[in-house]
């Protein structure tokens, strides 16, 4: 057997053995378990076997309260201005050797560096916390309604969502940081959040004592305080649209298309260019409307062309027919405009 094979095989059996030997896993022996060590001593006197002597001692395993809170989002959550129900996801794990409830609360950062490196510069609205009811990791408002973790057995975990609404008017790159805190609570009864767990202070008691044992960590978590927290953040990705309207004379009744002049009867082409700045979110549902000057008349023979292109700052006056004209107003819908691209709406009028 090669060294590698041996190692692999050993690993798999270790796992199997661990399950077989002890139902408790990472959280360890359940609180309240009595551990008795029995010893027997066999001996002979004068070559004759004597009755064995036995001794034992017992201690009780106390409750070790440990939990972890981690963000599941490897990167910031991208949100649009005005977005409702923007969700960050956390996992709260009960690493204690006893069943616990966990009280959950979400708070917002007040400035400073957010979880994924941005600088917190605004607060979201309507901050809520919900437990993932069916464990699928996706927030569903109908089923994910619990606001605390109920009866979490040792080594079990739940996904927890922090749900916020993003205010209108935020610009691309704006960051809102959030913090989820889980506080160890007594699993007194199913269906209700128990009292906050308190550590046994002073002398050891005859019953099961409670010891806070969370490690704390670099992000400001305090060691041995019975609660843990983690950070996540939202970053705004807005569309930054600019609209440019240009016009050019196509022809006039005297010069036709050769150096046409803006005289009555001339045909004038208008180009409305909608540009979305680089780095922005894709703009959707774009609707353009333009009210014609009273001195011009819509040229229905040309119609309206939408989703055309520009080259540099020059309107290419291309695109597909679309849009509509009614009562002196030209209107048309443009397709989605991704970051750094431009789409146009083009129509023609004659000068009265």
């Amino acid at each position: 057997m090669t060294r590698n094979m041996r190692w692999l095989a050993t690993g798999s059996v270790l796992a199997a053995a661990a399950f077989a030997a002890s139902p408790a896993a990472a959280a360890g022996t359940a609180a309240g378990t009595s551990v008795t060590n029995n010893v027997t001593l066999d001996y002979k006197v004068g070559g004759v076997a004597q009755t064995a002597v036995a001794a034992s001692d017992t201690f009780t395993v106390d409750r070790k309260v440990v939990m972890t809170v981690v963000s599941n989002d490897g990167t910031t959550i991208s949100v649009s201005p005005g977005q409702v129900t923007a969700v960050t996801t956390f996992t709260v794990t009960n690493a204690s050797n006893a069943t616990l409830d966990f009280a959950l609360s979400a708070a917002q950062l007040a400035g400073g560096t957010a979880a994924h490196g941005g600088t917190d510069n605004f607060n979201a609205n309507n901050v809520r916390v919900f437990v993932d009811g069916n464990g699928n990791g996706t927030y569903e408002s109908a089923s994910d309604t619990a606001t605390y973790m109920d009866q979490i057995i040792a080594d079990d975990s739940r996904k927890v969502f922090v749900v916020v609404d993003i205010p209108l008017g935020r610009a691309t790159g704006d960051v809102a940081g959030v913090k989820l805190t889980a506080v160890a609570s007594e699993a007194t009864a199913a269906g209700s959040l128990g009292a906050t767990v308190t550590q046994t202070s002073g002398a050891n008691t005859a019953g099961v004592d409670t010891v806070f044992a969370e490690p704390g960590s670099a992000n400001g978590n305090v060691q041995y305080d019975g609660q843990e927290f983690a950070f996540d953040d939202y970053t705004v990705s807005a569309a930054a649209l600019t609209v440019t309207k240009t016009s050019r004379v196509i022809s006039d009744p005297v010069n036709s298309t050769t150096n046409p002049k803006m005289i009555p009867g001339a045909v004038v082409e208008y180009c409305i260019a909608v540009a979305n700045a680089a780095g922005s979110a894709t703009a959707t549902n774009i609707s353009v409307t333009d009210t014609l000057p009273a001195q011009t008349t819509y040229l229905s023979a040309f119609g309206i062309k939408v989703n055309g292109t520009v080259t540099g700052s020059t309107c290419n006056a291309d695109g597909a027919s679309g849009g509509s004209y009614a009562s002196g107003v030209v209107s048309g819908a443009l397709a989605d405009i991704t970051a750094g691209t431009t789409k146009t709406l083009v129509f023609r009028t004659t000068v009265n």
Partner: protein, 153 residues
Amino acid sequence: MKIWLALLALAAPAAAFAAENVTLSSEVFVERVKPGADGKPAVVREAPKIVTPGDKLVFELSYRNQGAQPATGFALTDPIPDSVAFAGSASPGATFSVDGGRTWGPLASLKVVKADGTSRPALPSDVTHVRWAFGQAIPAGASGKVSFRGVVK
């Protein structure tokens, strides 16, 4: 936590054979690292009042031959409690079992049979029993201690 320090002198019927010849006691301590008198971390042994998973334990077995004659064939057997993982440091002379006491030997000689029928070398955490069998007689009045370490699972 309560400590039961029970000396089970089982031997009411055996009283005729000098049942109280040998006494045995088992004690367990929790080892913790705490700042010592000089401020530096020091390992201290405490009674097992607060014990949580991961704590390091020291089991200490004390025996005394209080009879008038030497005791021979002296063998101490200690099954490791279910919730404790053996963590080594057994006093010299110990032999081990990883199969519930069926076979015994130095830990390095023991194998654990895996599910697929092949075997691997035993690890300290596989140990189910520790035994000290003394080749020499324990003189009258003599006493001693053996110990081993464990970790609360």
